[in-house]
């Protein structure tokens, strides 16, 4: 484990360096997202152009990647986000992270900018910068195959960008395999700006295990724990789509941008229908017993032969409900295009449905759309916009710039209809009836997003004593209230960085179910795999350190409390549909402010959301940037 290295690559000069990772840094940041945040805070020049040579692109495997820890296959990537101007951070499963570790590296730091397309080949302790001129212009599937052919090794695993990343679409993403995507914050555009088409890895060195015999016993025990959760079994069967039925019925999704919160007659978007008609098999990421990814093929019709994996729950919204679409094949086609071109479905769905609503309201006209009639529930509109965004034509060229730049272009009166926070669009969910979810997208360090904290367990209204036992403080067991939500969200905000630093997937952790992996399990896994000992409390403080460092990155780029608020519509328009409990709900400004105060207080930040001096000292962040690595 201790042999794993950081590789530094300067694409301007072609220089490659390698460094060991001292245990002291592991003890502060573990690896993955945690150590990436340290690297970004130390290497990104404040105020730099995210698409310029001064931005730094980091990629990493989690501390447990490639080891027998359940579902620990995730890679993390980061940079200053070209979408938000704040921290860019996204992660994904697949096979890349384990392969990177087997090749001897845990982190890569890519600086500068190449003048011709290149890709990196990481192989058994070495990093090579290789020509990618012949691959540039190809989609993500072709790219990965061309790299395998170029290297003459079918076992090579790559992450790469598609045409969206090459064309600097600000929400282009980073992809590996058939569908795995580090989807958010536009990391694909950063790669594109550096002319970095892909990073390929192949390793035969392996990852050392501190206690191999115990490791297998523990692996078995933790797999059993994950599989005992009923929520896991549902996801094994249907993937994350399983969330759709309840959230649609309850009225927790966005329909036609943000006009209503339930899509009626949406039976064909339900996982059962998908499973019966399109799913052809199940796929899993490295070492994962859950196999939530489903392979599908469209057997007939205009999209016949469309083959990919997925779609995820979020894409059901991005190509479905947000456009008022009820046909699963539209979603499957959209999902496929996103996979091939390499863009974030969430951002696309949000931006495109915003444009349609603007057109409907007369805020943009045929001059802006180039004569294209933007209509709800219309495949022509959706796929024309996909094409325009990816290849930067017409209205698509404006949407490709992401929320804030597009608003500037289309006029301040369009802002009200845009569903972004910190410059990143929200997923297709409607949080007006669930204050904890609403706070989470507000405070999220990477912009409107559910994966920074969303406490899905809040929806189950578990008994108060169960919640107290889990959180260590009193939580009101009612998802519709504001009380104690600031604390609850804080708990998840400091917990998620740990799973992301270990490389472990949300699906196997307590996000969905309290019966899954938590801090205690992580301490056992870390000890057996790496030999390092931590207490659950130490891990919690480390999560706070990582999250606070992200906050510091954002503050350095000008963020403060003002950036933690929701789009105006959340406070103004009550929810028109859904279950009784969720109907007629809007966010109360005063109570939202109280949640923010409570949340900041838990983090040790002042009223403006700036970490206090004593907080930084306690977290040993007061000397950052310290330039150790």
């Amino acid at each position: 484990m201790r042999k794993q290295k950081i590789g530094y690559v300067d694409l301007t000069t072609g220089e490659v360096k390698k460094r060991d990772i001292p245990e002291s840094m592991r003890r502060k940041y573990l690896g993955g997202r945690g150590l990436d945040m340290y690297l970004l805070y130390n290497h990104v020049k404040p105020g730099c152009d995210p698409l310029g040579p001064d931005n730094v692109f980091v990629v990493s495997a989690g501390l447990l990647g490639g080891t027998p820890a359940p579902s620990s296959s995730r890679f993390h990537c980061g940079a200053k986000s070209p979408l938000t101007g704040f921290i860019g951070s996204s992660n994904s499963g697949g096979y890349f992270a384990p392969e990177l570790r087997f090749a001897g590296f845990d982190h890569l730091v890519v600086k500068g900018k190449s003048d011709k397309p290149v890709y990196l080949f990481v192989n058994d302790g070495e990093i090579e910068v290789r020509d990618a001129s012949h691959i540039w212009g190809h989609d993500t599937h072709a790219t990965q195959q061309m790299i395998r052919d170029d290297l003459g090794d079918q076992q090579v695993k790559s992450l790469c960008i598609g045409q969206a990343g090459e064309n600097l679409v600000r929400f282009a993403n980073v992809r590996t395999g058939a569908k795995n995507a580090a989807g958010r914050t536009g990391m694909g555009a950063v790669m594109g700006s550096k002319k970095l088409k892909a990073i390929a890895a192949r390793g035969t060195l392996g990852v050392e295990i501190a206690h191999p015999e115990e490791a297998l016993k523990l692996y078995e025990e933790k797999i059993q724990k994950v599989l005992r959760s009923k929520a896991t079994l549902a996801i094994q069967e249907y993937g994350t789509m399983v969330v759709f039925n309840t959230s649609n019925t309850a009225g927790q999704i966005r329909v036609r941008n943000f006009q209503t919160n339930t899509l009626d007659h949406a039976e064909h978007l339900e996982p059962e229908y998908m499973y019966e008609n399109y799913t052809i098999g199940k796929a899993a990421c490295f070492g994962c017993p859950v196999h939530c990814r489903h392979k599908y093929i469209v057997p007939e019709g205009p999209f016949a032969g469309t083959y990919t994996e997925g779609p995820e729950y979020t894409t059901l919204g991005a190509f479905g409900t947000e456009f008022g679409v009820r046909r699963i094949e539209t979603v499957l086609r959209g999902n496929h295009l996103a996979n091939m071109y390499g863009f974030d479905t969430l951002e696309f769905g949000s931006m495109a449905s915003w444009a349609i609503e603007l057109y409907e309201k007369g805020l943009i006209d045929d001059k802006i759309t180039g004569g294209l009639k933007l209509e709800w529930d219309d495949e022509k509109t959706i796929f024309e916009l996909v094409d325009q965004v990816v290849f930067r034509r017409g209205l698509g060229d404006i949407l490709a710039e992401g929320p804030e730049r597009a608003i500037k272009k289309l006029g301040e009166d369009t802002r009200y209809y845009n569903m972004n926070i910190k410059g990143m669009s929200n997923l297709h969910s409607d949080e007006r009836a669930i204050p904890s979810f609403a706070l989470g997208i507000g405070t999220s360090t990477r912009g409107a997003d559910h994966l920074r904290s969303r406490p899905i367990i809040d929806l189950f209204n578990l008994p108060a004593e169960v919640l107290k036992n889990h959180y260590g403080f009193d939580v009101v067991n009612d998802y519709s209230v504001y009380e104690t939500r600031g604390k609850m969200v804080w708990w998840h905000e400091t917990y998620n960085p740990i799973t992301d630093s270990l490389g472990i997937c949300r699906i196997t952790t307590v996000t969905f179910s309290l019966n899954r992996l938590g801090y205690q399990d992580f301490t056992e896994l870390i000890r057996v795999m790496t030999g390092m000992e931590f207490t659950p409390e130490e891990l919690q403080r480390m999560g706070e350190r990582i999250y606070t460092l992200e906050r510091m990155f954002n503050i350095r780029e000008g963020a403060s409390r003002k950036d933690d608020y929701l789009p105006e519509r959340y406070y103004v328009e009550p929810t028109p549909a859904g279950l009784e409990k969720n109907r007629g709900k809007k966010i109360d400004r005063e109570k939202y402010d109280q949640m923010l105060d409570e949340n900041y207080e838990m983090h040790g930040w002042d009223k403006n959301g700036i970490p206090r001096k004593e907080t930084l000292e306690e977290l040993r962040l007061d000397k950052e940037p310290s330039h150790i690595l």
Binding site: P68, Q145, T204, G206, P212, L216, E220, A283, P289, T308
Partner: protein
Amino acid sequence: MQKMILVDPTKCTGCRTCELVCSVKNEGIANPARARVRIVRFDPVVFEVPMFCQQCVSAPCLAICPAKAISRDKESGVVDVNYDLCIGCKVCMLVCPFGAMSFDPVGKKIFKCDQCGGDPICVKFCETKALQYVDVTAVSSRKSWEGAQKFSELMQKFARELAPAG
């Protein structure tokens, strides 16, 4: 009784847990390159096939070994390598039709699946049961049953479609 590891590629999710646990158990390191099983993956139209030693009856590796280092256990039928005799010439790697003979660059020796001495760890950890450890003589009857089941489902569907309305 001879047993074999029966592979059903249609159930394989490609998670490579078999490679992982095999290397940890046999080599004490997480390293698929040193595992006795290998998932061959066809990307991006994903189809995965677990590949490993079939313990062939007429084993090319055994036949060609110039040092007579490869032999078969009479009872279990498992083909194994005697490292006292192995000269590391790698000819067995060249003749194996399944790519089941591998060379370990660290330990500098040939290695292959020995079914973990009768309790294969890959089978134990295979979540979807794409790998099963079964009695050799039971394999054909099991396959017959599965094939017949598919046939019977087809016939039933056919019969329903042909049945007169009402």
